[in-house]
Subunit: 323 residues, 2 copies
């Protein structure tokens, strides 16, 4: 993959992208059933969706994994947010398929088909993390100018509160998300919040980010032009696992100097893990990198203590609705 | 239940309790399989228990619910830490019994029988909470002077760091814990830590509290006399549930002014919940009370947003090993 690290993006000639209007939008909660902000918000909007309706946009609130929500578990058989592969979506249906694969096919029928003109324009997928990441928008493409402009709009509207952007275009670490069914997939990750817990501050932060994002879509659909701009993102580089013994059990914890320090620079020689017997393991590698998802509960089973990222500035060209 | 609120415990004549030596001690981790501090500490001590051995004491580290640990879930069929009822422990064994009931019987055979002279002297049961409770020792009896003296010793050894004491003698809210098998049951609850997460600060705090508690037992067994003292505790008063709709779904969150404020006074008129539409619900009741387990993940299913407590000062008489 080619780096898109642009030291001076404004030196590029701005190009205006004429983009079709975004008339069909979905908001997913409960892709992971124990991430309760999205479950509660979407549950509320299913009853009364006035808050997420905008002129010229049909917004559908949707509980993505209702069985996992019922159990307050991340998933029943397999992680729904990794299940939207071509192979799964084309598998012959049947009860023998894992529940989440069947559910992925159903979601693909309702909001896709993925990769086609019939797919929904935008899917916001609401997630929580146990990591201290604050509000984070997760993008799947550095060349989706519509989404980059949305991000910029949200960031300006939220200021001085921050909203980080995680870009996952990694050839191996990018995964097949629920939201990938849409033309413009956007993950919204807010933390820290334990699994199975609903914190009012996290709930309100998520609600506000989504409000601004929907406002952007309304403005865009009304014909407002958004001028070329640059967007700072953190690009996913590498997965770092916990030290483990021969049986796969972890033998160290995230070091207290790294714990809760998502988005802060980590350089070679900085403390990374602390073994159970008190030894410090330092980060060794080119740097600085910017860790995210530090000590996320759901990632122990995915062999990931955190992911490293690199700061980049992306250029977004001007966007305006296709006339 | 009679209140043991003693305004001046030192006015009582001190009585020395001659207590048998505490030669058999167990440390349980993983009574709840997703509370990882105890799981990791006990797992470590099972491999090398030197750290928890003391002169004159045999200390057994023990994973209480290995199947739940394997799944990183609180329990498999039913909450093990509510399963040690007389009815369960005397139920006819068989595969049709819930896994945790069978496990409770096994634990009762290994460390009990509960309520008999053959039972272990002390069981420490290691737990985590998602609530901001810090280090908390949980007692089941206000008249166990051996445990009260242990608490006092731990508190002095930890100072200036605090260690709260929760006393659950409530006729309805007291439950049949794993540790209740022992003559002297002691719960150790440390938070905040999300389920399925291991934080180094929580791990080290738990380790230190247990160190001091084991030191106390060693001193006691060596014949040291601990003079009469008083111990401040928080006595469990009442369970407070979230506001819910007719389907049992919660309709409000812990209010941001109450969130993370475990052990701080809550008085009539103070904000308690915030509804999804932004309304504040105030606490109404005699006060001040001192909430604990505020927004604990595991208690949503137990219809508990927090528990109220009352501050009391208990008097502990002098204790010395029975000669």
């Amino acid at each position: 993959m080619q780096s898109r690290l642009l030291s001076a993006p404004w030196t590029r000639p701005a190009v205006r992208a004429a983009t079709p209007r975004a008339g069909r939008v979905a908001v997913f909660g409960g892709t992971h059933g124990n991430e309760l902000s999205g479950v509660a918000l979407v549950g509320m909007w299913v009853k009364d969706g006035a808050e997420i309706q905008r002129s010229g946009v049909a917004t559908t609130p949707f509980i993505a994994n209702p069985r996992a929500v019922e159990r307050c578990a991340r998933y029943v058989d397999t992680d729904l947010n990794r299940a939207f592969t071509a192979e799964n979506l084309s598998a012959l249906s049947g009860d023998e398929l894992p529940y989440e694969v069947r559910r992925a096919q159903e979601i693909n029928r309702l909001f896709g088909p993925k990769g086609t003109a019939d797919a929904y324009d935008v899917i916001f997928d609401l997630h929580n993390t146990t990591s201290n990441m604050g509000c984070t928008l997760i993008l799947e493409s550095s060349s989706d100018h519509f989404v980059l402009q949305m991000v910029r709009h949200v960031q300006k509207a939220c200021a001085p509160a921050g909203c980080s952007v995680l870009l996952n275009e990694h050839p191996l670490l990018k995964y097949s998300t629920s939201r990938s069914v849409a033309k413009h997939p956007i993950g919204l990750e807010v933390g820290p919040q334990p699994q199975g817990v609903l914190r009012s501050n996290i709930f309100e932060s998520m609600r506000l980010i989504l409000k601004h994002a929907l406002d952007f879509i309304e403005l865009f659909n009304c014909g407002v032009e958004f001028p070329a701009c640059s967007v700072d993102v953190f690009r996913v580089l590498e997965r770092v696992d916990y030290p483990r013994d021969a049986n796969g059990n972890i033998t160290a914890m995230v070091h207290p100097h790294l714990q809760d320090c998502d988005w802060e620079p980590l350089s070679s020689g900085d403390p990374m893990f602390q073994t159970f017997d008190g030894r410090t393991i330092e980060y060794q590698g080119p740097g600085p990198v910017y860790p995210a998802f530090i000590n996320e509960a759901a990632y122990y089973e995915k062999q990931q203590a955190f992911v490293t990222t690199r700061r980049e500035t992306l250029s977004a060209c001007a966007v305006r609705k296709l006339q």
